[in-house]
């Protein structure tokens, strides 16, 4: 087995205790949050008998360690349990919604990279010049604008005003790839803009750092054109911090697209998790957090492996 595979296997093994710790944490935290799921689900129909019956049906009357072990045993069998509200298998609920969140995340990540990296390059290449100041200003505005406001502004401008794109909803890619894309452009843009601002700032710093190194000075001294210096020598060497941040952003977007999913009425995992938190739908929150956590780890692993692809020195180490 070659070293990257050993490395990946080791990382995956390390993920097991991490996931176990996460499961204990999310299980414990949900129990600390005030509010009885039976009372919340029954709402105004919460009679003492009704609450008692639901608590029994959901095993909430058992000691906490029993509840945890029951859930964990289910997980090991690949059974996430049943949703408190609709009695649906949670595994299926997650599978139904995951493609929406994944697609949104991938599009937003592509948008983040396409906007953020050129911004950073431009700023880094012309330090203290007009482009740098403009990049800085754009970055500052991008970081400061909250997603919910930006989303509504994009709807008002591009959907209501210009009539270019739908204001919300979702069409599965299998049904119509074009409509699917049209429905995801605005949400992906909303997610991408603020993250691109962060990536732009970081890319600028990375580019500036590499641009001052000797081999770059040497390339310039050789008489290489500026764009060749930038793309052939600076960018590959500045790529590692850029990829790191992009990987983290993808991880955050997997679980953090809640606001965007709400504004654009996308049936994704984020929206489901938020509803479950508000309803104290314990098994749904626990399962989605665990799945999102696992995906975050996978993205981090992929990022680490990508380092080796970008920089052969990392592989050798």
């Amino acid at each position: 087995m070659s070293s990257p595979w050993i490395y990946a296997a080791r990382r995956l093994l390390l993920a097991v205790p991490l996931l176990l710790g996460m499961s204990i944490l999310v299980f414990g935290l949900m129990r600390l949050v005030p509010g009885d799921p039976a009372v919340v689900i029954l709402g105004y129909k919460a009679t003492p008998d009704g609450v008692r019956a639901l608590r029994e049906a959901w095993h909430l009357d058992e000691p906490l360690p029993h509840q945890y072990l029951r859930w964990l045993a289910g997980l090991l069998r690949g059974d996430f349990g049943l949703d408190f509200r609709q009695n649906e298998p949670i595994g299926r609920m997650i599978l139904d919604r995951l493609p929406v969140t994944l697609e949104l995340t991938l599009l937003a990540a592509a948008g983040t990279a396409l906007i953020g990296i050129p911004l950073g390059l431009l700023g880094g290449a012309q330090r203290r010049g007009f482009a740098d100041r403009a990049t800085f200003a754009i970055g500052l505005v991008g970081v400061s604008i909250p997603d919910f406001w930006l989303g509504i502004m994009l709807i008002l401008g591009l959907s209501l005003g210009a009539g270019l794109l739908p204001s919300g909803g979702f069409v599965p890619i299998a049904e119509s790839p074009l409509e699917n894309l049209q429905h995801l452009v605005l949400p992906a843009l909303t997610l991408a803009l603020s993250r691109a601002a962060v990536l732009g700032r970081l890319s600028r710093a990375a580019v500036l750092d590499v641009a001052q190194r000797g081999f770059v000075q040497f390339a310039r001294a050789k008489g290489l054109a500026e764009h060749a210096v930038l793309f052939r020598h600076v960018l590959p060497n500045a790529a590692i911090p850029i990829v790191t941040v992009l990987g983290l952003q993808v991880g955050y977007m997997l679980g953090g697209a809640i606001v965007v999913e709400m504004i654009f009425t996308l049936p994704g995992v984020g929206r489901m998790t938020l509803d479950a938190v508000l309803e104290r739908n314990y098994p749904v929150v626990q399962s989605t957090v665990l799945v999102i956590g696992a995906m975050f780890m996978l993205v981090n692993l992929a990022t680490d492996i990508l380092y080796g692809v970008i920089d052969p020195r990392v592989r050798r180490r």
């Binding site: 005030p34 009372v39 029954l42 105004y44 959907s159 309803e279």
Partner: protein, 527 residues
């Protein structure tokens, strides 16, 4: 209250003497504007031209559905959808009168039995013909304690339902039951035993209604399609209805403006005046069908003292709350069923209020002249009720009462409410086709929904008398006195009623608010 979220349904002006517009004047003005409040006929008052068949109604409601089984009636957002899939025996029309559904006609044979003649041409969406056995099955399922269906409690006076013929049923009551018809219009969608066994009714509703269930993409939309074997000839008009539930008011309105939706349930109240000036979108008539009130916790001091409850009632300035919080999307009222409800009484024992001198005197008589510190419990997800608490805080300050507003999110709110850990709570209640549906659950000492903990033998006697009087005429005569008594003695202070009003594209017709709060789309059409 109920699980229906009180969205801020719009109307321009508060209806109050001091705003220069009386309730009567408002009604007259609304009628003048083509609102047709007095219409007793079918839903034609608001429609224009001849109904046209076809088209898709893309509906945006406030909240997403969770359970399509009518036995649970879980969340208003679920009812809004499945009420188009199922039929009930009877309905209420725009004027609050009972009209036939699956029951063609009915008669009260004696104080304890009712005979219902059923339509013989209705077919369930699974192909099963509708018969009396389906009605028997529906009520047997509902009344069987083993099934633990929450709607059972509303039908406690019903002993059983018997099939007399293939299309005739007889209801047997344990005692005379005044609101029987109202109950039938509220929560008795007729189900089919075979359909229930074939598919989980929580996920796949199968009824005889105007639209059949097609798909439910969770957190996204529910699609219904016209049922071609619907028993009312020519109905429904629409080919398809797609229900979505964007969580945000602005997103919903933008969706209507961009054409993503052509019918939405509410708009942000602050946008009402501006929207009224335009042609697109247009608004349905507005009807005050959702009472908002304060619950005073009478299970413990200080509000186990009637004088202190009255002190709050005399301090309350309803008009100010409606003006500052609801932008005129509510009407100030002291009763749960104001005009145009057929149950409107106009009774307000606190007329002329606020009367701060009187409130101070009551506080002093109750030994609280030195002031009181109270908590106001409210769900944080309902910002209008939080703002109501803030205005109330300022109003109560004038008589030396300090009010701490406690916005809690759902989980904590329900725990505090059920555990009676509050002094005052802001609430609403969506079941007012018959006022018994307001007073029985909320003020009867035996009711599990008596969250304010009000217990009074006299109250129970009065509620029971109203409930178990079979004659509608006698009940109507009894009702003003019931309202008066509860305003003086009870633990609820009704302060406003939310005006239900829907917004749609100019080519959408035949949609009016009903006191049952149903979104009944069988008469809707697109020009």
């Amino acid at each position: 209250m109920s699980d229906h979220d009180p969205h801020n349904v719009p109307f321009a002006d508060p209806i109050d003497g001091r705003s220069g517009l009386t309730r009567r004047a408002w009604l007259a003005r609304a009628a003048g504007a083509g609102v047709g409040l007095a219409g007793h006929g079918p839903l034609t008052a608001f429609a224009q031209g001849a109904p046209r068949r076809g088209g898709t109604l893309r509906v945006a409601t406030v909240d997403k559905p969770v359970n399509m089984d009518p036995g649970y009636a879980q969340l208003y957002s679920s009812l809004q959808i499945y009420q188009n899939v199922y039929n009930k025996l009877a309905y209420v029309d725009e004027a609050g009168q009972f009209i036939p559904g699956l029951a063609r006609s009915w008669k009260q044979e004696n104080e304890k039995t009712w005979l219902f003649d059923l339509v013989d041409n209705a077919v369930f969406h699974n192909g099963e013909p509708f018969t009396a056995q389906d009605v028997v099955f529906t009520f047997t399922r509902l009344l069987d304690a083993k099934n633990k269906l929450p709607m059972r409690i509303f039908f406690s006076p019903v002993e059983g339902v018997e099939a007399v013929g293939s299309h005739q049923v007889r209801f047997h009551l344990a005692r005379p039951f005044g609101p029987l018809l109202a109950m039938l219009t509220q929560a008795t969608e007729i189900v089919n035993e075979k359909a229930l066994k074939e598919k989980d009714p929580k996920l796949f509703p199968i009824g005889t209604g105007p639209y059949r269930f097609v798909e439910w993409v969770k957190d996204d939309h529910v699609t219904l399609e016209r049922w071609d074997k619907y028993f009312r000839p020519g109905r429904p008009y629409l080919d398809r209805i797609i229900f979505s539930a964007p969580a945000d008011d602005t997103v919903r309105l933008t969706g209507l403006q961009t054409g993503r939706f052509n019918w939405i349930q509410t708009v942000p109240p602050q946008r009402i005046l501006e929207l009224e000036r335009g042609r697109d979108p247009k608004a349905s008539p507005g009807r005050p069908y959702l009472p908002f009130f304060l619950m005073l916790n009478a299970s413990k001091p200080p509000f186990n003292d009637r004088r202190l409850r009255q002190a709050i009632a005399w301090t309350l300035d309803r008009a100010e709350i409606v003006k500052l919080v609801y932008f005129g999307s509510h009407v100030p009222t002291a009763e749960p069923t104001p005009e145009p409800s057929p149950w409107a009484t106009g009774v307000n024992v606190h007329k002329g209020g606020p009367d701060l001198a009187r409130a101070r005197q009551l506080l002093s008589d109750a030994g609280a002249g030195g002031g009181l510190t109270l908590t106001y419990l409210v769900k944080s997800q309902v910002p209008v009720l939080v703002k109501t608490g803030e205005i109330l805080r300022e109003q109560l300050k004038k008589v030396g009462i300090t009010l701490e507003v406690q916005p809690l999110e759902s989980g904590q709110y329900f725990e505090a409410l059920v555990g009676k850990k509050f002094d005052i709570a802001g609430a609403w209640w969506s079941v007012t086709v018959d006022p018994d549906m307001f007073y029985s659950p909320l003020q009867h000492s035996a009711s599990p929904w008596n969250f304010s903990g009000f217990k009074s033998e006299e109250a129970d006697k009065r509620i029971d008398a109203f409930r178990f009087t079979p004659s509608p005429v006698t009940r109507k005569k009894m009702y003003p006195d019931l309202v008066r008594w509860f305003q003086e003695e009870g633990s609820l202070i009704v302060f406003s009623n939310e005006i239900q009003r829907y917004w749609m594209k100019p080519n959408v017709h035949g949609s009016v608010p009903l006191s049952s709060l149903e979104l009944r789309f069988e008469d809707s059409w697109i020009a």
